[in-house]
């Protein structure tokens, strides 16, 4: 039951993030929504790591760690590009 609860929460987070990503226009809001979507997927991965086995499956943990690194770099790049765009627009 518990894994199902976590997995369901993961799917809910993903959908919520997706909705925000599509609806919000501001870059910062879009990025927060993107990170919520990512958290949803990570949630799902953590939930399936514990499938009644002891010890829990380590592979999904490794995937989540890699995923976090990727999400952080992507957020950083998008923020950097957004800031430069803001500066360019100020010059105009």
């Amino acid at each position: 039951m518990t894994p199902l609860l976590y997995a369901g929460a993961g799917i809910a987070l993903f959908s919520l993030g997706l909705w925000g990503f599509l609806v919000q226009a501001a870059l910062l809001r879009k990025l927060i929504a993107f990170n919520i979507m990512g958290s949803g997927v990570f949630h799902l991965l953590i939930a399936i790591a514990e499938r009644g086995e002891q010890p829990p499956d380590p592979v999904p943990h490794a995937l989540v760690l890699t995923g976090i690194v990727v999400a952080v770099s992507a957020t950083a790049l998008a923020l950097a590009m957004g800031r430069q765009l803001g500066e360019e627009q100020e010059h105009e």
Partner: protein, 478 residues
Amino acid sequence: MSSLALAVTLPLLGALLATLWPGRAQPLGLAASLLTALASAWVIAEVWQAGALRLELGGWSAPLGIALVADGFSAAFLGLSALVALGSGLYASTYFSTREMQARFWPLWLLLWAALNALFLAGDFFNLYVTLELLGLTAAALGALGATPEALRANLRYLLIGLLGSLTYLLGVTLIYIAHGTLDLALVGAAITAGPVDATALALMTLGLALKAALFPLHGWLAPAHANAPAPVSAALSALVVKAAFYLIARLWLDVFAPLITPWAASLMGLLGAGAVLWGSWRALRAEQLKVLAAYSTVAQIGALCLFLPLLQGLPAGAAREQLVAALVLMALTHGLAKSGLFLAAGLVQRAAGHDRIAELGGTAQRLPATTFTLGLAGAALIGLPPSGAFIGKWLLIEAALERGQWWWVVVLALGTLLSAAYVFRVLSRAFNQDPTPGRFVSEARTELPALLLALLATAGLGLASAPLWRLLGVAPS
């Protein structure tokens, strides 16, 4: 040291060195490019002789370890990347004249190449996710190198859409892991069952990849992002990055998930492809700028490649299927080479004339004869005139469509071909006027020759010498 590992580590090492010594970025970048191309050639030579290769990284075997694999299909795309990246890199070494731009360009360029090679050689779903993300990040950063507000805005949008695509793909990967407990492509392929989990996983992954491949109707981001990037970057984005996402779609649909594909699903992909061919070609015809034309023509090309999916669905393994897959690869390679040549030439026109408005191209043929010749050659390959590789590809596609009684794809292809002829000749007709013809064919060898060679390879090289490609893919020539 295995050739597979070298094809990924050499560009990565080059990117690292170019970051550490920004003053020497250009010589380091060119040297790393040459070495990477040699490593790719080595992989191709090994596949040519021994067939499929597999390398278990660190000695850990699947399901826990990560493998690099190469077969004829991936080797062909590895070769395309090497040719386009080498040609565009050489062009970029003159195109970016300041040290500062060179120091920004080369690390990203080599990272992009590393991501491409790793994607073509990846043997498991999660590695593919990482390479897709690396590709999306470097591609958006490269596209924004010009730092104009338009380029920044277009590439920020490209980055965000790419991220949306990768997360959707990752959700599909998670479902695969839930269902099969492994991420290895070969192991999952053997365990595929026609259930709802696998079908949902495939749908999610395809949706994510379709966003990245700019498959109609998800193509809105492509034209501004590709048209506003610097010319050598546009060449790589259009010829390689979009093709890499399509490569993965083809790998999933034709190989890993093949037993799962229903006629309806394949027809839907064909229908989207048909929409892309017609809409992309139409927008290319209506485009006012040469680079926008080239970008919309990419949308149409991806569509044309999708037309193969309904024809390959349910086709049993054997000579007919292998022939058609080879035709698909041949068409993708021809389009990649032709499109990179076209974008490089468009960049030269833009630099010489100060703009790339098609209506005001008059006299380009007189000022830049080699570049106009490149435009013509690339155009011939895009239309699919003989002897280009696209001609053979289209011929085999039409043959298969008629044999399988799906004649409507032939109509789409014919309309697409007519439209592409119209947009190519619209450019060429403007390029000529009555100015006196100059004595020099080539005005700047280091930028004009790579573009010309890529277009020439697309038109003459691949068409006349397609037999080696057939052999690489392990198909008997017809």
